[in-house]
């Protein structure tokens, strides 16, 4: 028993120290650095034209990515857990691709697909000529949105799939036997089953979308137009003057605050999903 106790305390000490040094300390130093020049400077720094534009782009890309990925995630999870078909395993693996590919490569891949040198460029140009429009994908908002979607692709489905797998197909079968159609079954049985996982997945997806840097960096080059918050922070920091570095920290603190909110939400929902009615 003594032995076990000391092991426990050693493990706690290591974990706390590690988390403190690696995670907590850097985050707090951001907050401290952000307020180094005083609160007035902080407010000014986070409300410049560039930052407001970047915040807007970030939120837009995040909202679109979350909506698209939630829809897709639900469909994919539904398909992969409640139906059997040839190639199911391959499809399940393909969904995970964004987890294993570096975001920068994703950005470059979009560049080579939709950019001036990309193989779809003639088609895009033809459309633009025909409709008299000037749609661009790379180095424009669509590119930023696409990159964000790609990177946050698996989050929702990955959260739902294990939950649905654990619950089996029995209830669906029972409902079908009573004459329920596919959509009724989905709405009344499958959706309630995935509810908590879905909320959790959406939160994770949001957090990841807000912070995306690499893929967006490859596709977005215009500050004040297509820059997202992480890119704006990078630009501020790279410009190198004393005040711009403090500004970079100030803008970073926005993301840190959002991250903390997401963390709290995550914990609330994790707790509620464990204690919710009807989970056996």
């Amino acid at each position: 028993m003594e032995q076990k106790k000391s092991t426990k305390y050693i493990l706690i000490a290591i974990s706390v120290l590690f988390i403190f040094v690696m995670l907590i300390l850097p985050l707090f130093s951001i907050l401290f650095s952000a307020l180094k020049e005083g609160f007035a400077f902080y407010l000014q720094a986070v409300t410049t034209e560039y930052v407001r534009s970047a915040l807007l782009v970030t939120l837009l890309a995040t909202v679109i990515a979350v909506v698209v990925n939630t829809f897709f995630g639900i469909m994919a999870a539904w398909l992969l857990t409640k139906f059997s078909f040839r190639g199911k395993q391959v499809l399940a693996t393909l969904i995970d691709i964004p987890f294993s590919i570096s975001p920068v490569i994703v950005g470059l891949a979009f560049l080579m697909t939709f950019g001036r040198l990309g193989w779809t460029y003639p088609a895009i140009r033809a459309i633009n000529q025909f409709f008299g429009t000037n749609i661009r994908i790379t180095f424009a908002l669509p590119g930023v949105v696409l990159a964000t979607i790609f990177v946050t692709f698996p989050f929702v489905s990955r959260e739902i799939i294990p939950i649905l797998n654990a619950q089996g197909k029995d209830e669906e079968e029972a409902a079908a036997l009573m004459g329920a159609g596919g959509f009724t079954i989905f709405r009344k049985i499958t959706l309630p089953q995935m509810k908590w996982g879905l909320i959790y997945g959406i939160i994770l997806c949001t957090a990841r979308a807000l912070g995306e840097f690499g893929a967006v960096n490859a596709l977005s080059k215009t500050r004040g137009q297509t820059f997202t918050l992480p890119l704006e922070i990078d630009a501020l920091y790279m410009s190198g003057t004393d005040t711009s570095i403090t500004s970079a920290f100030a803008v970073s603190s926005i993301l840190v605050i959002i991250a903390v909110i997401v963390l709290i939400l995550r914990n609330i929902f994790e707790y509620r999903s464990k204690n919710s009615k009807g989970i056996q």
Partner: protein
């Protein structure tokens, strides 16, 4: 015949789950599909329900061929093995689900659900969720839910498998009463012969995807048609060289026999009757079984199991005893023969 299977075959890949199965069930009967696991009994049930489609053969319910009728339109109620209750719905919503789908007016739904919950003894539990119920209560919700749309046939897949032993006996009686009261044709799947014998009007025994025998529990117990049934039903053990036992002549081609404890009588002193049929044996083992003892007696190298009441004076291992064997099921590959001990043909009536 109310529910009828005609020459049904069903394959899963190379595995033949149903092999030319035919049987008929009369209206209002409670029938058990009994067999070891993997014998195809659940597949048969699911095909009747419409959850699986046979590769060939016809299924009839109430004289109508239902092969192409979707599951929901067959007029069946199904109780799943783990009940498959909708865990995010209350007891009330679970039972009402089928009625809502059928667009029954709200008032009537309420009336019907209340009636069913009363019938199943679940009144007052309307607002509970499945995880707030005991195993027995869940089963009754599943039962009420299956009955809600007034099905003509009730199908139950291992209805008692997930319930602990004590409640199980209670539920068996309850189910039997319910089914008799409602007069609904019911088929249930089980691998537990006690359950089948106790609950069912008729038993269908499956093995390797085909039907071994169909009949009342008594018929199946008393006259098993096939070697499989003889071994599967009752507390059967197999005897080689049965011809060495007193009073039994070898049957051509049949090398094995099945013996059950109730075919045997053991006594410490020489039996007053049938002296010529009495074998001597040595007690090999005495096993306490709760309400009786199992005594294993070695008769000329053949181990014979008998049951002994706890009220009688105990026997000890190594003791010499007398054994009377009334009958055997002698079997070859295709057939069983019930053979009475020829040394004791006169007198004594034996009953099971």
């Amino acid at each position: 015949m109310y529910v009828e299977m005609r020459d049904i075959c069903k394959n899963y890949g190379n595995f033949r789950a149903s092999d030319h199965v035919s049987f008929g069930i009369e209206k209002g009967k409670l029938v058990a599909l009994l067999g070891p696991s993997g014998s195809g009994k659940t597949t048969l049930l699911r095909m009747i329900a419409g959850l699986e489609t046979p590769n060939s053969g016809d299924i009839y319910i109430d004289g109508q061929r239902v092969n192409d009728v979707p599951a929901a339109k067959r007029g069946i109620g199904f109780v799943f093995q783990n009940y498959a209750l909708f865990r995010y719905m209350t007891v009330y919503d679970n039972v009402a689900f089928g009625l809502e789908l059928a667009k029954v007016p709200k008032k009537e739904i309420k009336k019907r659900v209340t009636e069913l919950l009363e019938l199943t003894g679940l009144s007052g539990m309307e607002k509970r969720y499945p995880n707030q119920l005991s195993g027995g209560q869940r089963q009754r919700v599943a039962f009420a839910r299956a009955l809600a749309p007034n099905p003509q046939v009730l199908l139950l897949d291992e209805p008692f498998a997930a319930i602990d032993a004590k409640v199980r006996t209670e539920l068996r009686n309850w189910l039997r009463e319910m089914v008799v009261k409602l007069g609904i044709t019911s088929i249930f799947v089980t691998h537990d012969q006690d359950e089948a014998v106790e609950v069912a009007d008729e038993i269908i025994i499956t093995n390797h995807g085909h039907i071994e025998q169909m009949g009342t529990p008594m018929e199946i117990y008393k006259s098993p048609d096939t070697p499989f049934v003889a071994q599967f039903i009752g507390r059967s053990s197999i005897v080689e060289h049965y011809e060495r036992l007193l009073g039994f002549d070898p049957v051509e081609g049949a090398t094995h026999a099945v013996i059950r404890p109730e075919f045997v009588r053991m006594s410490r002193s020489e039996p007053p009757q049938h002296m010529s049929a009495a074998e001597r044996g040595i007690v090999k083992d005495v096993i306490f079984r709760g309400n009786h003892l199992d005594v294993v007696v070695d008769v000329g190298g053949i181990p014979i199991v008998t049951e002994r009441s706890l009220e009688k004076d105990p026997v000890e291992i190594g003791e010499q005893v007398y054994v009377l064997i009334y009958r055997l099921y002698i079997f070859d590959e295709n057939q069983t023969y019930l053979v009475e001990n020829k040394e004791m043909q006169e007198g004594e009536v034996f009953y099971i």
